[in-house]
């Protein structure tokens, strides 16, 4: 009898404890999801009443070169940012993994840009990238090379954003790699050495396969993070020059809050989100077939 009592009380408190989440879910997740489906078929500037326009938002999207450009820009960003980030993070992690004094100090410094606001980082890099007075160009010219048009040339601007984003986030991935490296059993290296493997061979055949889970985690995390690229181009270049740094997120933001095209922006948001999910699913498939096959 006593036991049942405890359980039924548990039942009631259980509901009470999760109630806030259920309410939160209904208001801030379910309702926006449903409402975005409604918005998809409407033209709306928030001020005047909504106007039903059928699938015209989709027709418009299919003929919107800027949206496709922003998608391509985001893809270029990811293709530059992720390999660069993995290479830099792995390099520093390997150095730190040796018996190094003051490892904690180095790690702490490399991690600093991670905790600081993206706005600060972008303001800083805006100065570093300045064509005439920037620190980077003054270093480059001092060794006799020509100035680089970091953020004024459409061909160079997105790589510059990718470098900035790598500088900002690489600290996390150095730490993740360091954890991964320290989890590799020392015996594997000893066995490889006994078999006469050179250092580079044991790196390729022991370190890299053992780090595979870490690399997968980094690719997935930075893909999802990279798709929300917004504040860096917003502050650094405003999406220019010639829309070369216009990320998909920035384009959606402009459509919604600069032009007040709520229906169209919601449509873009949905299509972009489906695109993200598709990329993540494909990544997962590739990873699974890679690790099992």
């Amino acid at each position: 009898m006593k036991r049942r009592n405890i359980f039924s009380r548990s039942d009631r408190t259980g509901y009470l404890f999760v109630l806030p989440y259920v309410l939160y879910f209904c208001v801030f997740v379910a309702y926006p999801l449903v409402f975005s489906l409604v918005l998809m078929f409407h033209r709306w500037n928030i001020v005047t009443p909504m106007e039903w326009i059928g699938v015209r938002n989709f027709v418009r999207l299919a003929h919107d070169p800027l949206f496709f450009k922003s998608l391509a820009n985001t893809a270029i960003f990811l293709l530059l940012h992720i390999p660069l980030q993995i290479a830099v993070a792995l390099g520093f992690a390997l150095l730190l993994n040796a018996k190094i004094k003051n490892r904690g100090f180095f790690r702490a410094v490399y991690f600093m840009p991670v905790v600081v606001s993206g706005v600060v980082v972008t303001v800083l890099w805006q100065q570093l990238y300045s064509y005439d007075y920037g620190v980077l160009n003054s270093i480059i010219t001092s060794v006799g090379l020509p100035r680089v048009p970091w953020i004024v040339d459409p061909g160079v601007a997105m790589p510059s954003v990718a470098i900035l984003a790598t500088w900002k986030n690489v600290g996390i991935y150095i730490v993740l790699f360091l954890v991964g490296l320290q989890n590799i059993p020392q015996e594997l290296y000893e066995a490889a050495e006994l078999d006469g493997a050179s250092r580079s061979r044991s790196f390729l055949h022991v370190t890299v396969p053992m780090l595979n889970p870490t690399i997968i985690a980094i690719v997935v995390l930075s893909t999802i993070g990279g798709f929300s690229l917004f504040i860096e181009p917003y502050v650094l270049t405003g999406g220019g020059p010639m829309q070369s740094t216009l990320s998909a997120m920035l384009y959606i933001y402009n459509q919604a809050f600069y032009f007040s095209h709520m229906g169209y922006a919601a449509t873009l948001g949905i299509v972009f989100a489906l695109f993200i999910l598709a990329v993540v699913l494909v990544q997962r498939k590739v990873i699974e077939s890679d690790t099992t096959g």
Binding site: S36, I172, L277
Partner: protein, 269 residues
């Protein structure tokens, strides 16, 4: 020899990742003419750039706004998240599995899909240009619930049963008995939430237009791109320094916690 080379590269890393901050902080105290100089030392220092920032934008108010918003969000996320996490880990009720799946599903939804309808919700509720729009939509996160649930699963059931027999309510058990045992997870959730809230700029840009309600990163963004900094590099750097310094100071004291929490969840700050 090899070791020396490693140290050289590591020290170059320190310059690459650390020096720009030093340059920024030093630059905000330098006279305008000397900022471009790579050397952080200067012949004279001045508060002038900071005075410029404080007279042009309500940055002090923005600091208090950010502090209030981030502290409120963090408190709500920790309290509510631990309640839900506790229910999922330690209470028995019908539909528990469904709620857990619902939370996992929510975490998979890209925020790009709900951003605009959420803004419209704020407009309909009349919450734009209020603190509510900055706090309420962030008061719960799937990640925090999952982290709490995971941690609470390892709390021995016997402890909870014993407290129940002594007549303790579940609220009492959670906040008096389990919370003191849960410092690691509370610290992790608190740091992740606080940093995400403090550094968020997209959402404030969307829901707040009133300058006196702007958060600090938002106000600095407006200051930088809105042309108010004009061409004065000093005031730009001073604004960025004011935004960065509280976080850098907190980081200096608690860097181990920052690194552990942010790396353990792999979340960007």
């Amino acid at each position: 020899m090899k070791k020396t080379l490693a140290y050289i590269v590591l020290c170059i890393g320190v310059i690459v990742f650390g020096y720009p901050f030093l340059w920024m902080i030093a630059g905000s105290f330098k006279p305008e003419m000397e900022i471009g100089n790579l050397n952080p030392w200067s012949s004279s220092y001045t508060w002038n750039s900071f005075v410029q920032v404080f007279t042009k934008v309500p940055i002090g108010r923005a600091f208090l706004n950010s502090l209030f918003v981030s502290l409120s969000v963090t408190t709500l996320v920790v309290v509510l998240g631990s309640m839900v996490g506790y229910a999922l880990a330690k209470l028995k009720f019908f539909g528990k599995g469904a709620i857990y799946l619902l939370i996992l599903f929510t975490m998979m939804i890209p925020f790009q899909i709900t951003l605009i309808p959420q803004y419209i919700l704020m407009v309909k509720l009349g919450w734009t240009d209020t603190y509510l729009s900055l706090i309420v939509p962030s008061m719960m996160t799937g990640l925090s619930i999952i982290l709490f649930r995971q941690f609470f699963l390892s709390v021995p059931q016997a402890l909870i049963d014993a407290a129940r027999i002594d007549g303790c309510s579940d609220l009492h058990i959670l906040f008096r008995l389990i919370w003191p045992l849960s410092r690691p997870v509370i610290i992790t959730v608190a740091i992740l939430t606080f940093m995400a809230s403090w550094n968020d700029v997209l959402w404030p840009l969307i829901v707040v237009r009133d300058r006196t309600l702007m958060t600090m990163p938002q106000l600095v963004t407006i200051f930088v791109i809105g042309g108010e900094a004009e061409t004065q590099l000093g005031s730009l750097l001073a604004a960025a320094t004011l935004l960065a310094l509280p976080v850098i100071i907190a980081y200096a004291f608690f860097q181990r916690y920052f690194i552990e929490s942010m790396a353990s969840s792999g979340i960007k700050g």
